[in-house]
Amino acid sequence: MSNTTQDRNLEKQFVTAFESNVGRTLNGTNTKLRTLRTKAIEQFEKMGFPARKDEAWKYTNIGDVLTHDFQVRALPPFMEIDAVDLEPFAIPGLDAHLVVLVNGRFSQRLSNLGDVPDGVIIESLESAGETHGDLLETYFGRYAHYDEEVFTALNTAFTVDGLFLYVPKGHALEKPVHVVNVQKVDEDLFLQPRNLFVFEENAQAKIVETSVLLGGGRTFTNAVSEVHVGERAVVDYYLLQDQGDEASLVTNTNVYQKGSSVFTAATVTLSGDVIRNNMNVLPDAAHCETHLYGLFLSSGTTHVDNHTHVDHAKPDCESNELYKGVLDDQSTGVFNGKVFVRQDAQRINAFQENKSILLTKEATMNSKPELEIYADDVKCSHGATTGQLDREALFYLRSRGLPANVARGMLLHAFAGDVIEKVRVEPLRRLLDKRVSNRFGW
């Protein structure tokens, strides 16, 4: 709960923006969704933005960023963008269903969906409100709990558009879905894209999400994604965050897994101002597999905070987390990994590892694994290490004639490579490898 006058004014700004636009909502005619939004804004007003004393935001001073004068628009501006402007941000060699969101809004013109198999839906969340109202009513807001998390509340209240992806039962998408979040603004802007991903029983898909800030101002993005992973479904979700240091980001990804499903996520952050990722997974039936990976390379004053939350509600599941960071300059990082194993969730294997390398004395990392285990027959482990590059390893390479900078680059690349090799979309993996290599000079 925040109480300062300044924050209150900030929150008031959102409430006012909401009130002046009540009619212009996602599927505005749908009573259920409209009610949800009204409840969400009320909840937002009640909770307020997090203060430093909130445990979940202890190391991320989000208030500092929010007090910057970001404009709040109920309807984000739809800026003119040429396809050619996006070419530098393509992933070389990636053959995908391309979805382009401009300031969070689905661009039919810039998207290139290609052949979409029968029954698969890739469309604007806004239009899906009308074309697939039943699906939206079933899934929208089901996993992103506006009553528990303030940014989720705010996003729910302001949802206008985003991506709706639906893969029906038994269908495997051969090509990945590449979602490009393009931001182009002519003022410092607060943006709130919303995605809904539904994978029915035995469906398979890979999603690659990248972001681009084309300039014009600073942005604060409050993104929420909901992911329904049906029984035996296999879903990969890759998030690449590299918008430059004018962009701040809070993401909430809420994943619900049904039995025997496999969900893999990798979040890679290469630049940004203040970034907070909340990855929440609920494996809600037996024999689920959950793999969460993260990598960030920070420099300057960038701040990257990864919070994961895996709630093992049912037995015989496995979760596996590996988060790594390389922090340069005065950059800061946070990892907070929560694993709950509820009383009836026996035979859970949950592993969590967080490793960070600090390249300077000024860089700071806060790492906090939290395991709460109420079942007795489980295998859980966690480990967190933060330190400098291994001196002995550096000496070994230098003793073979490699100059200090090459030796250092080689070791850092190898350190990051551990996460990158988990990426199962080859062109993306190659691109990430190249970015890392460019960063470290090897």
Binding site: D390, R391, E392, A393, F395, Y396, L397, R398, S399, R400, G401, L402, P403, A404, V406, A407, M410, L411, H413, A414, F415, G417, D418
Partner: protein, 253 residues
């Protein structure tokens, strides 16, 4: 002129003085063995020669090919032809043998003003040198030393030695932990690498390795100093009488 000339070398780590006046002169093509009990400073001498930063040289000089070795960075020393075979080779997960060695070979070539080695030549060179120490070529696609057995790690050191072709090779207890077959393999590899323009300093706790690699000079190091030097007979004498014999002699003198 000697290839390596160590004079009155003193070195310490933190507050502990380990080398207390080492004198050593190695000529081109010679093989020197340095023996001594645990803690006598043998490995420290190897580390200081290779440029390990934890050690601080407090007195003395080391000249290599007429240059002040102590002024050189570890990688400059390597490019100048010094090679240290580590007692405990470091595991480098994620760094492939291939990339690592190719970079190392190319750093040497660049230093000599040569073009980078071609892929086919590199492969050929690697196969040829791996055969010297019977190292499985499959290991080349793996990470450096990661998951290698103890014997594989030691053979990997000699393999790298062969790849880089140094002028002065320092073997820091390469024999420790090796079974007799592996020891023979390593020794055979070293013997094939002997030459008039390559010198070896072999640090060992036991005489056994010296049955296979015949040294020109044997030195005994005790308490941070070389207290006695002789030919290969000295190694046998040590094996029979033990290090206490030397200690007592030194004490009497």
């Amino acid at each position: 002129m000697a290839l390596l000339e160590v004079k009155d070398l003193h070195a310490r780590i933190e507050d502990e003085e380990i080398l207390k006046g080492v004198d050593l002169s190695v000529k081109s093509g010679e093989i020197h063995a340095i023996m001594g009990p645990n803690g006598s400073g043998k490995s420290t001498l190897a580390s200081v020669l290779a440029g390990r930063e934890e050690f601080e040289v407090t007195r003395g000089t080391v000249s290599y090919q007429g240059e002040d070795l102590l002024e050189m960075e570890p990688d400059q020393r390597a490019l100048a032809g010094i090679f240290l075979a580590f007692q405990y080779p470091v595991e480098l997960p994620g760094v492939s043998m291939n990339n690592f060695l190719r970079q190392a070979v190319n750093e040497q070539r660049e230093h000599r003003g040569e073009d980078p080695i071609g892929a086919a030549d590199f492969l050929k060179l690697m196969r040829e040198k791996a055969a010297l120490v019977e190292l499985d070529p499959q290991l080349m696609s793996r990470s450096v030393n990661a998951g290698f057995s103890g014997g594989e790690k030691k053979r990997n050191e000699i393999f790298q030695l062969a790849m880089l072709g140094p002028t002065l090779a320092i073997l820091d207890e390469t024999d420790s932990g090796l079974d007799i077959d592996a020891l023979r393999t390593v020794a055979d590899g070293v013997n094939q690498l002997r030459g008039n323009d390559r010198s070896f300093v072999i640090i060992t706790h036991y005489q056994r390795l010296l049955d296979y690699i015949i040294p020109d000079v044997v030195h005994v190091m005790v308490d941070g100093r070389i207290v006695r030097s002789g030919d290969k007979q000295l190694a046998h004498e040590l094996e029979d009488k033990g290090y206490d014999w030397i200690r007592e002699e030194v004490a009497v003198a």
